[in-house]
């Protein structure tokens, strides 16, 4: 199945990267960087920052490829996770202006791109469905936190609600998500 083929391919590329194979590293970059960059542009908004974190991410991939454990998750997840945490770290360190509407709307497209579907076809589709059945406030809160890299206070400020309320929404939303996904 396409999912498994691509997943195994990326795993192999990451393992070869750990061995210092820079051709494999390049291929890994070519097959994954587009998704990572798109996410960073969404979270960080500024192109220069997104480029900076993208570079830092793959430098970390190169240096820490030996830490990747295929038993724990996919190579794609591993790379995206490094990128997300670095982006959040940057947001927290540099601070930013009050987040606005644009943090929710653009660049979130229901991607039909084959690779995205191949990444986890069934689970990706299921996740979308499970997100849809969340309460509106819960879903918005999670999306703001995720796609905007927003903190609890930032989400609270954007929604005009108390931080405690927002924390509950996020916590309940995540619980529901897990139940829905059937893990």
């Amino acid at each position: 199945m396409a999912t498994d083929v691509e997943r195994r391919r990326l795993t192999r590329l990451l393992h070869k990267t750990a061995d210092g194979d820079d051709a494999a590293f390049r291929t890994l970059y070519e097959r994954t960087a587009g998704h990572v960059y798109a996410l960073l542009r969404q979270m960080l908004r500024a192109e220069a920052q997104a480029e900076e974190v993208l570079q830092d991410t793959y430098l970390a991939v190169w240096m820490r490829a030996g830490e990747f454990r295929a038993s724990r998750g996919s190579a794609m997840t591993w790379v995206i996770t490094i990128a997300r945490y670095k982006a959040i770290d940057l947001i927290r360190r540099r601070g930013r202006e009050v987040i606005t509407d644009e943090f929710l709307e653009p660049a979130i497209s229901e991607s039909e791109e084959p690779l995205a579907l191949a990444m986890g076809s069934d689970s990706a589709a299921m996740l979308m469905e499970c997100m849809d059945v969340l309460g509106a406030q819960e879903r918005r809160s999670i999306e703001l936190a995720f796609f905007g890299g927003a903190s609890h206070p930032e989400v609270a400020q954007f929604l005009g609600k108390p931080v405690g309320t927002v924390k509950s929404w996020i916590r309940r939303g995540l619980q529901s998500l897990k139940r829905c996904l059937g893990a």
Partner: protein
Amino acid sequence: MNYRDPQLIEALAAEYALGTLQGAARGRFEQLRSEREDIDRETSYWEDVMSQLALRIAPIAPPEKVWQRLHAGVRQLSHRNDTGMKPSWFAAAAAVLLGVAGVFIAQRLDDAPALMQHVAILQDAEHNALWHLKVGESIDVRHIGAEILTEDKDYELWLLTDGDAISLGLLPESGSAQLELSPALQRQLDGGGTIAVTIEPAGGAPPSGATGPVISVAPLVAG
């Protein structure tokens, strides 16, 4: 906090992966994750969920300059991570010097054993003659112009062949010297390769391999 409560772990892991667990709490959780398999598994689960969310976004091709900077950075890191003699490090140095390296003359001496006798003049990058070598059952070295080093340093001669670097011994800073060769090394030198000279700590390079700058390189041409 009761870190044995599965519901609590689930909640913390989810918020850690989402990014809303911050500050000291995040640091504490990271520590816990490194110590506890169950927490690591739960967190990996949520990280996978989050990355699925991320993949909903249509990909955007990054600018080419990012790859260029990345590639340059990666090469520098590989270079710095090399300890001792790695073929790539040496090959790079050798390639640089090979253009201006030693003159090599091979002569067959009829009454000599089956081994070729190779003669070489090792030069530095400015074409200054440093040593004269005669390579056969042993290596006869005659100093020509190599600079005298400080007490804490020595010149070391190496054979580079097939990704391996074999020390042939230390070179004299005046007069002559003879470097003994085992039969195996004699054969190997007979088969060709590249010889090179580095500056090492007194007594020669550590077991891990050459550490110092390459000051001369010459091809060993068999036959």
